[in-house]
């Protein structure tokens, strides 16, 4: 079991053919992912990796029944690509920007666009600049290195790509496997938040504990803490403090932390954290292992893994 993705999920690769798309589509296929097609405005009609390439996502969805997508696009084409994929009805979207970073304004425009769907029908968007999603032993939609994962009871959700990999590698080395790994993407503008993933993990029989990796003091982390307090499964958090830039580089963050739309909620929620903190990276595996022994939900035996 897993969340959002398994070996039967039909996945389209937007931007295939393309240097990065080719490379990671191969990794995904090797891992067992059901990659059904590519979409490329310039290469429709070709076949790549034995799969058809369509000019539009609409046509691809019609012909292949794809329900998930990974997008490889330049920063300037990213908004258009995400809108195209979402408009075609895809409900799980991983977006990987190539070259320059997508501007925060573009990201906000995309998140605002996704509000046209009611929350229950809104697509899950990981990215832009995400690592993607990997259900261990089943399928991957993303740019992770699958060799670091091992199957097991820990669901991982992270905004940080590399630190997420680091955590997974440490868990695996310590004999603690993972159920599904979700990289939300940097910046926190995708519209898809920790809380949504926590809810999925709570309902996933294969997940016994959740590791959440983020930033201290962020409103999304605070919201997650409040949500975690009501969960049966333990949520371990690793929130290393980032060095503050000198000068006034963090002005926007400070303003939004204090006065953003979620700020009032944040202040309320920080006091009542329902999460188990990891003090530093060296303590990560021990904290996760401890949390697993605490979980007795679903009538299954306590234990590190099974």
């Amino acid at each position: 079991m897993s969340i959002l993705l398994d070996e039967d999920t039909p996945v389209l690769v937007y931007g295939l053919p393309g240097i990065q798309a080719d490379f990671y589509a191969n990794v995904m296929l090797d891992y067992g992912t059901k990659v059904v097609a590519g979409v490329s405005p310039r290469h429709g009609g070709q076949r790549v990796l034995g799969r058809p390439v369509f000019t539009t996502t609409d046509e691809c969805v019609r012909e292949t029944g794809a329900t998930a997508a990974i997008i490889f696009a330049d920063a300037d084409s990213m908004t258009d690509a995400i809108l195209e994929v979402a408009d075609a009805g895809i409900k799980l979207i991983v977006a990987i920007s190539q070259g320059h970073r997508v501007t925060v304004w573009d990201k906000i425009g995309v998140a605002r666009f996704l509000e046209r769907w009611p929350e229950s029908e809104r697509p899950v968007l990981l990215g832009p600049e995400a690592s993607g999603i990997l259900s261990v032993g089943q399928a991957m939609i993303g740019v992770m290195s699958p060799h670091i994962f091992a199957r097991g009871p820990v669901g991982v959700v992270t905004r940080a790509a590399s630190l997420g990999y680091e955590a997974v590698a440490r868990l695996t080395a310590a004999g603690i496997g993972q159920s599904t790994f979700v990289g939300l993407g940097a910046d926190g503008v995708s519209g898809t938040e920790y809380v949504e993933m926590l809810a999925h993990f709570e309902n996933d029989p294969a997940t016994e504990a959740i590791l959440l990796i983020g930033e201290p003091g962020g409103p999304a982390e605070a919201e997650a803490a409040a949500f975690a307090a009501g969960m049966l499964k333990p949520v371990v958090t690793f929130l290393p403090a980032r060095p503050k830039p000198t000068g006034r580089g963090a002005l926007a963050e400070r303003i939004v932390e204090a006065f953003g739309d979620q700020a009032a909620g944040r202040i309320r929620q920080i006091a009542s954290s329902g999460m188990i903190p990891v003090p530093h990276l060296g303590e990560l595996t021990r904290t996760v292992a401890d949390s697993l022994t605490r979980f007795t939900g679903s009538g299954r035996p306590k234990g590190l893994s099974q």
Partner: protein, 391 residues
């Protein structure tokens, strides 16, 4: 990314923002003489020509006479400023003098992108001239805010509500709404992430926006060559320019380890592990998620530009990054010579085997490993006198 005050004013003038009259002087006498030219009842002398001057020096000296302006300029001119992110010092060569009218009211305004709600936050306070952190602490609940839908932009009715809540007199609403509309237009047009007006003043019968900071994210720069050009104009911000060029993040700190990472969170976690060993980075450079060999070379140049770096640690856990590309950058830098401090390379993730093999075959003088714990140990070992002596 930040602009100097002079550049900020130059940009905002195009958006019809009501700005103070100001001039630039390169001597105390010139500064004093400027007062008559630009008029006003009092003046502010600023080191406003380079972004880093705001950080290095007292940002503004208020003066009530031309002679005081001359003395303030004398106090500033010739002062040595460390170029941000480097050890280079340079002298302050010019100052900015702003005319101030009869101040009858002062407010603080700011616009910022709220990534969580996908909206723009507009906030205001009567604590003009203060840092936002202080405003939060002192004025918390009395701060006035509006949430702006990016699809609609700031609506005049929101401006009116905002300014009324801040206590602006009714008759100033039309002018204030117009001024704020100009500020919002600049903010949106330039794809800024934050815009702060430290003093939104009523002077005589006129509104003036003073002491303005605009911040941009890297992403916005490639789309706006003019902004990019403005940032490149100022040699003092070389690390910023390099950062923009290669999409690198950069933070200066006070230690001796030159740290290069893939991702700010990995940087934070690595900094914590170093701290466990009594070590602090001199600077942290973030390669981001898709570093080319050239970006790695620029990152290495950036950390090596700090002369007090005693050891370099490059820690990449690759996903969309690729270890083989990273290694290419390391080899080309090492083969270019002149790398004095020991270099520790930790690689894992995508193409790790290819990367580590290629690095070892190249014969360049770096220590390499796939384990972060081993890498930290290698860094510690490079301090022969122990890490306690590091400054």
């Amino acid at each position: 990314m930040e602009l100097s005050e002079v550049q900020t004013v130059e940009l905002l003038r195009e958006y019809q923002v009501p700005l103070p009259i100001s001039g630039i002087a390169d001597s105390p006498d010139a500064a004093r003489d400027l007062c008559a030219e630009i008029g006003g009842r009092s003046w502010v002398v600023k080191a406003g020509l380079r972004p880093d001057e705001r950080v290095a020096l007292e940002p503004r000296i208020e003066c009530t006479s031309p002679d005081a302006v001359g003395r303030a300029a004398a106090a500033l001119l010739g002062q040595a400023i460390e170029v941000a992110g480097t050890e280079v010092e340079r002298a302050l060569e010019r100052v900015m003098v702003e005319s101030v009218g009869e101040v009858k009211g002062e407010w603080y305004l700011a616009l910022a992108l709220d990534r969580v709600s996908s909206r723009i936050v507009l906030l205001g306070s009567t604590l003009a001239g203060q840092a936002v952190a202080d405003i939060v602490r002192k004025a918390g609940p009395s701060v006035v805010r509006e949430s702006v839908d990016p699809f609609l932009g700031l609506q005049p009715f929101q401006s009116r509500r905002f300014f009324l809540a801040l206590g602006l007199p009714l008759e100033l609403l039309p002018a204030a709404t117009t001024a704020l509309a100009c500020l919002y237009r600049a903010f949106a047009d330039l794809e800024a992430t934050a815009l702060e007006v430290s003093r939104f003043n009523l002077e005589g019968a006129t509104l003036v926006a003073r002491d303005i900071t605009i911040l941009f994210d890297h992403g916005a720069l490639y789309r706006n060559p003019r902004l990019r050009g403005m940032i490149e104009q100022t040699d003092s911000t070389w690390p910023d320019v390099a950062a923009a060029e290669w999409d690198l993040g950069h933070v200066s700190m006070s230690g001796t380890v030159g740290l290069i990472v893939s991702g700010t969170a990995l940087g934070a976690a690595t900094t914590e592990l170093l701290a466990e060993q009594g070590l602090t980075p001199r600077g942290v450079v973030d390669l981001g998620t898709e570093a080319t060999a050239e970006a790695v070379m620029a990152a290495l140049r950036l950390v090596l530009s700090h002369q007090d770096v005693r050891c370099v640690l490059l820690n990449v856990f690759a996903g969309f990054n690729r270890c083989d590309h990273v290694v290419e950058g390391i080899i080309r830098t090492m083969e270019g010579g002149d790398v004095v401090p020991p270099v520790v390379v930790r690689l894992n993730g995508t193409k790790v085997q290819e990367g580590l093999s290629r690095l070892r075959e190249s014969g360049v003088a770096v220590s390499s490993t796939a384990s972060l714990d081993e890498a930290i140990a290698m860094v510690v070992a490079s301090y022969p006198d122990g890490t306690g002596s590091q400054r």
